[in-house]
Amino acid sequence: METTAKPESAHEAHGISLASTAEVGERQFLRFKRLNRILHIIMIVSFMSLALTGMTLKFAYTGWAAFLSRLFGGYESAGYIHRLAAVAMIGIFIAHIVDVVRMKKRLYPSWRSLLLGPDSMVFNKKDLQDLIGNFKWFLGRGPRPEYGRWTYWEKFDYFAVFWGMAVIGSTGLMLWFPEFFTLVFPGWFLNVAGIIHSDEALLAVGFIFTVHFFNTHLRPEKFPMDIVVFTGRMPVDDLKDDKPAEYRMLVKEGMLEENLVEAYPPIVIRAIRLFGWTALCIGFSIVVWIIYAMLFAYQ
């Protein structure tokens, strides 16, 4: 999702830095711009809704599913919520693509420079080096790699959405409009679409609520959660520590000061944490439910 927020936020940061005389340490580094933060929040809501309503059907044989289905107002109402959330998800996807195109027009001379630049989400040589370096570090055979602005696992999560949109989105549309799609495809395509939709959704849900949660929120240095994606801001110390390569580059190019903004007041942080906790809890509950359904009630 997030390609680069730097140029715009730099502009924003500049104004703030002029107005404020506060010390560097009291200001925070702006990692995500506003649009992307909003998109991520909408995405959480939509993804959770899709997961909860969809799983009631996938695990229809568990008591939990019947309970949830009832909670959503019955399977029909759950279906409406599912489709509404799906539309929101597609909306987010389109909004992001439009944003990238506009960004290219304003800030980059060519697609090549956008896709292959240092802030690109596209995998590059450093990601491979980081991956190998990371495994070496895990096994105690080297130092912790110096991660840049976007690490390889963040890029993986980002592209997973593209894959998911294509696979789950297309099959979902097929199940939504079976009468239309069977004008072209044979009926058993719907069965295949059903399996792909459901299993890919299971993969997405499982992956987001375990691997993504760990990588971003649960790993010890971030525990219990990292709220940067909601605030968009992170302490410079954290930046120094978590993204050393980026920090070095910002310092070297003298850009760090430009990207510093004032932190949110505590009340905002509290609200954000509440939202984060809710999302985490729902996510973990779904994981527990999936494990229960797969292990103890599988049919």
């Binding site: 399977y75 079976p178 375990t210 990588n215 790993r219």
Partner: protein
Amino acid sequence: MKPLARLKIHSTLKCHRLIVRSFWLIVFAGLWLAPAFGQENTECLGCHSDKSLEGTRKGKKFSVFVDEKKFGQSMHSALTCVSCHADLAGKELPHAEGLQKVECGTCHSAEQELHTKSLHGKAIARGDALAPHCNDCHGNHNILSSKDQRSPISPLQIPFLCGKCHQEGSLVTAQRTIHQDHILENFSESIHGQALFQKGLIVAPNCASCHTPHSILPHTDPASSIARGNISKTCTKCHAQIEIVHRKVIRGELWEKQAHTLPACIDCHQPHKIRKVFYTQGMADKDCLRCHENRNLKSSKDGRSLYVQGEQLGFSRHSKVSCSQCHSEVSVSRLRPCETITKKVDCSSCHAELAQQYQVSTHGKMAAKNDPNAPTCKECHGTHLVLGKLSPNSATFATNVPLLCAKCHREGQKAAVRYTGSQHEIIEHYTESIHGKGLMKSGLTVTATCTSCHSAHSVLPKSDSLSSVNPKNVPQTCGRCHHGIQEQFELSIHAVLVGKTDKPLPVCNDCHTAHTIRRADETGFKLQIMSQCGRCHEAIAKTYFDTYHGKVSQLGYTKTAKCYDCHGAHDILPISDSRSHLSREKVVGTCQKCHSGANRRFAGYLTHATHHDPEKYPFLFWTFWGMTSLLVGTFVLGGVHTLLWLPRALQMQRQRRRESGQQNQGDKGEHGDNSKA
């Protein structure tokens, strides 16, 4: 030879007697003259008194011994042998074999003529080997008078004589068409038979009294004594005054003149089964009530109250029936007419058909074994206040039937305690069922009650093939009300005549249950029905739950295709049948019931698809395993990455804490130094 006459007990008219007497005169005259015309009997007996003497006829040997003593006692003792064996007259003795048949008609021409026209005579003419000749009933050399009790044609013997051929198991009943059955048994139990056999009344009618001795004809023959037009004449031969008794019905002579419009005797009093009818004349209810209206009247034997509420009788269904009709065996002449009563009230005297049904039912069989729990007529119908099933106050009125049966069949009651089958809390379940609600809540008296399905008198367990609730009979039982459904069902694959299989086929109650029948449009029923189908169609029901339809219904919602939405409910047929809802011709229309835009390809959706069957659904199988591999692969990579990361990250965290702790201490130290400085 002069003609010889035979006397019969049925010839009752005076003129007959006169003829008979004159015949005897002629007979004796003939006897006097006889020896002059033929060989002496002693000549014949010279050879035929030898017990070992044998003749041959059609290659078979038979005894030609003649018992002189018996012949001497016979009606024909005064006749010479050649009087009957006419072809030997004047022949040399000993004679050759192969005598002609004795022609009884030479003397008994009237009887001979009647016999020739009768059923028996016609059978002889046809060459029927089973047809009776004169000697089959009368004997040959030992012919006795019908008044002689030893004679086979004496009144007491006639039923046995006729019964030789007309009893169950004889060649005649087995090989010839006789429209009545158990003739001899029925006769012996009938009032006529009882009079004859038990009371020894030789004037009581026997077979020949009604059927005549020689002119036996089918009742369809207008000349027959038992033809509809002649019945009254036949019966009134004995029951001369019967018309007075039946006056109300027959208005005198109409009975005989308009036999075709009025009932004939046999319409009420079945042939061979004629029973005693309890019209004890002169015994008025008033006489009984003189004692029985006393509230304190008690039985001297067991102390039970013998009090009868006189006015109750008036309201009852039996208001026109007098006490003594049910409490039979009263003796009007006694001071206490009832003291001669030995038997309990026998309802079967009038309600014979229902009693027969009851006797084969479980209730009746128990009663026959003197089981104290067995319900008899009065347990359900009451005694003096017996009311018809159409009277709302009657225990057998539709809305009261469940409560009546509940007396024994409610859980914990005597019948329920003995019962070992699978149906429990029958009454409670019935009350909650659609039938029970229809009856008890909506007050619909046409609703099915216990007796509608189990019958009132032929109650039998399900296992009995005669039972109305035997699987074989259930569609018909339910079809008595749900006829349209029965018609559909009997054309479906589940019907015995259509679904040719060894496996047990479902009947109504297998899907709808017996006592907990619910409305088919109730959510509970709709969800339950799928597991009902699944009891037999196990595999296919399971795969249904793998599809969208199945999953939605598993969540407890009914607005989705269930078994019967596609396959039909009662008219289920294999998809190869063009009448099936899922046949090629009809399947798109079936889908369109819910999916209005459905097309031919849409109908190709696999409604019972499973991804567990690589043979049948290879695409689904490999898609599933492809997706599962992707899932497992991604999780393994992600999981390994995470699990390796975690210990290292923890270690790093601990190290940083230590470092920051040291730094903090260092900062404090620096600060302190500064302050000193």
